[in-house]
């Protein structure tokens, strides 16, 4: 069952040994360099086969599913305020190829992915998933950014989808959602809440008109 959570400070690039120390539910703070990436980056490099705007593997092995609250000055200066993750489940279809081309070992995001994704995509690549907390602790994470190195593809993808390269110090808190064995904190908690959820529905009669998804198949009527 749940062990007592530990707190880790990890420096990038995060070593396999350090990743091996992580258990689901542990608290993590990051130091070093991380880069943002979401559908804008993934569509380009995975679907369209474009070269990344920078050698991602040389930069860091931490990819953050994020777009910052930021603005660009007329002189091109980058003004970054709060930083919050975006929901990761939408990106699972990109991850197999993305792990190959980026060498990423740590994905930081919101809400995690499925345990099946961890077993099939993360474990073979020696990668873990860290979830942001809340959501979202945008001001705390913003404080953890000490410098913006670059915002790649700013023109092409816009502020929200650009690839932001961030120097970070005590960037967190983050929680270990998946470990190197592919365990998932969220799925553990889902299983732990399942019975209470069922009890809440007890005695409530179903509505007179159903919806697809509540029936066995689309061949059934909703009445």
């Amino acid at each position: 069952m749940a062990h007592t959570p530990r707190t880790h400070r990890l420096s990038t690039p995060v070593s396999p040994g350090a990743l091996g120390e992580l258990s689901i539910g542990d608290i993590v703070y990051l130091d070093g360099v991380i880069y943002t990436g979401r559908e804008g980056l993934y569509r380009r490099v995975v679907d369209e086969g474009m070269a990344p705007p920078v050698d991602l593997g040389a930069l860091s092995n931490v990819n953050f599913h994020c777009s910052p609250a930021a603005s660009v000055g007329e002189d091109g200066s980058l003004n970054l305020g709060a930083v919050t993750a975006t929901a990761s489940f939408r990106f699972s279809r990109f991850m197999e190829r993305f792990f190959e081309l980026s060498g990423a070992k740590v994905i930081v995001g919101k809400g995690g992915m499925s345990e099946a994704d961890y077993r099939e995509l993360f474990v073979p690549n020696g990668a873990v998933y860290l979830t942001t907390v809340g959501y979202g602790t945008g001001a705390l994470l913003g404080r953890g950014v000490t410098r913006v190195q670059a915002a790649h593809w700013l023109e092409e993808l816009g502020i929200a989808q650009a690839v932001w390269v961030l120097e970070v110090s005590r960037f967190g808190p983050l929680l270990v959602e998946s470990d190197l064995a592919g365990n998932s904190l969220f799925e553990r908690e889902n299983r732990a809440t399942a019975d209470a959820v069922e009890r809440a529905y007890a005695g409530l009669k179903p509505p007179s008109l159903s919806r697809y998804g509540e029936t066995v198949s689309r061949g059934d009527e909703v009445l």
Binding site: A69, A82, G134, Y135, A160, F186, E189, V197
Partner: protein
């Protein structure tokens, strides 16, 4: 009668954009502190404590509390005697200008893009963006601007229920929405859960969103029957064993607000909306003389808005 200056409205709109993004409303923060006193589970407590720390950091740094600054929108309540300089076309331009400015200066995340072409002006302004909804107030010469920054992806659902579904139907759909978006914390709970009941289906969506975003924690519906339903739903939502981020816990619904509209005799449309751990709202009352008062309670649902009669008489006259 003096006009309300266009520039005063623009400045007030810009100021509430910053306040909404940075300052957690006190009613919401106090509500979370209350939940923390009752929350027994370590992971859920960890999340709530991190959020309290986050709000302090946001205010100390004058930094947005959450980087997903949602899809900013405005609610305008105009006194019946209020006259904005240049009319309402100028007021809308002031609001759009303030949105673009605040997006750059706070900064906010420029979330708004064209739904098909993904065209991005990097300023949260575009076709039908920001939305501006209106209401009116008798015997007043001020204009109130409220902005709400609410995320737009998860935590909301709509369903056509029927009278025979009754309270069971309402409770089930409430639970469906909380559970489907509560897992993994996609709804960013504990949330102010707003419920729109009745009206036409678009009305039920509009009322539910306003119930979530425009009523403070701790303010029940003035109809005692509806207030009782709100309390029951809140209790139900906090007893599904789920807390923030979908972790085991008891902190799911910080408050439940129900708003109603007269509906089709055969139906009972219902919508559910979750206003998140960064419940961002701020209001400015701009007086005809140019003074501006700021607050976090929009006071949107007035007796006039909830009126049932053809004409409007003051509540005092109604009870006489």
């Amino acid at each position: 009668m003096s006009e309300i200056a266009r520039e005063t409205l623009r400045e007030a709109a810009s100021e509430i954009m910053a306040r909404a993004a940075i300052e957690i409303p006190r009613d919401y923060r106090d509500g979370i502190r209350g939940m923390l006193e009752r929350e027994q589970h370590e992971l859920s407590r960890f999340v709530l404590e991190a959020m309290l720390e986050n709000w302090e950091a946001a205010e100390a740094d004058r930094r947005a509390m959450c980087a997903d600054t949602g899809v900013p929108r405005f609610y305008v309540k105009a006194g019946n005697e209020a006259r904005p300089e240049g009319g309402f076309v100028a007021l809308e331009e002031a609001v759009r200008s303030a949105t673009a400015e605040a997006t750059r200066t706070v900064p906010l995340r420029p979330n708004r893009v064209h739904p098909l072409w993904r065209t991005d002006h990097d300023n949260n302004v575009g076709i039908n963006a920001p939305e501006i909804e209106y209401s009116f107030e008798p015997d007043a010469d001020w204009i109130e601007l409220t902005t709400v920054h609410k995320g737009g992806l998860f935590g909301t659902d709509y369903r056509m229920l029927f009278p025979a579904d009754g309270m069971d139907g309402i409770k089930r759909f409430f639970l469906d929405t909380l559970v489907q978006f509560g897992r993994r914390g996609l709804a960013c709970q504990p949330a102010i859960v707003g419920i729109g009941l009745g009206g036409s289906k678009d009305t039920s969506m509009t009322l539910g969103k306003q119930a979530a975003c425009l009523r403070p924690v701790g303010e029940p519906n003035p109809d005692p029957g509806i207030a009782k339903l709100e309390a029951e739903l809140k209790e139900l939502g906090n007893n599904i064993g789920m807390g923030p981020m979908g972790f085991v816990g008891s902190s799911m619904v910080i408050d439940c607000h129900v708003e109603v509209g007269y509906t089709h005799t055969g139906g009972m449309p219902m919508s559910v909306h979750c206003f998140c751990l960064s419940s961002r709202r701020a209001t400015a009352r701009v007086h005809a003389g140019g003074e501006v008062e700021y607050r976090s309670d929009p006071r949107w649902f007035t007796p006039y808005m909830r009126r049932e009669t053809v004409g409007w008489r003051t509540p005092l006259a109604r009870t006489a």
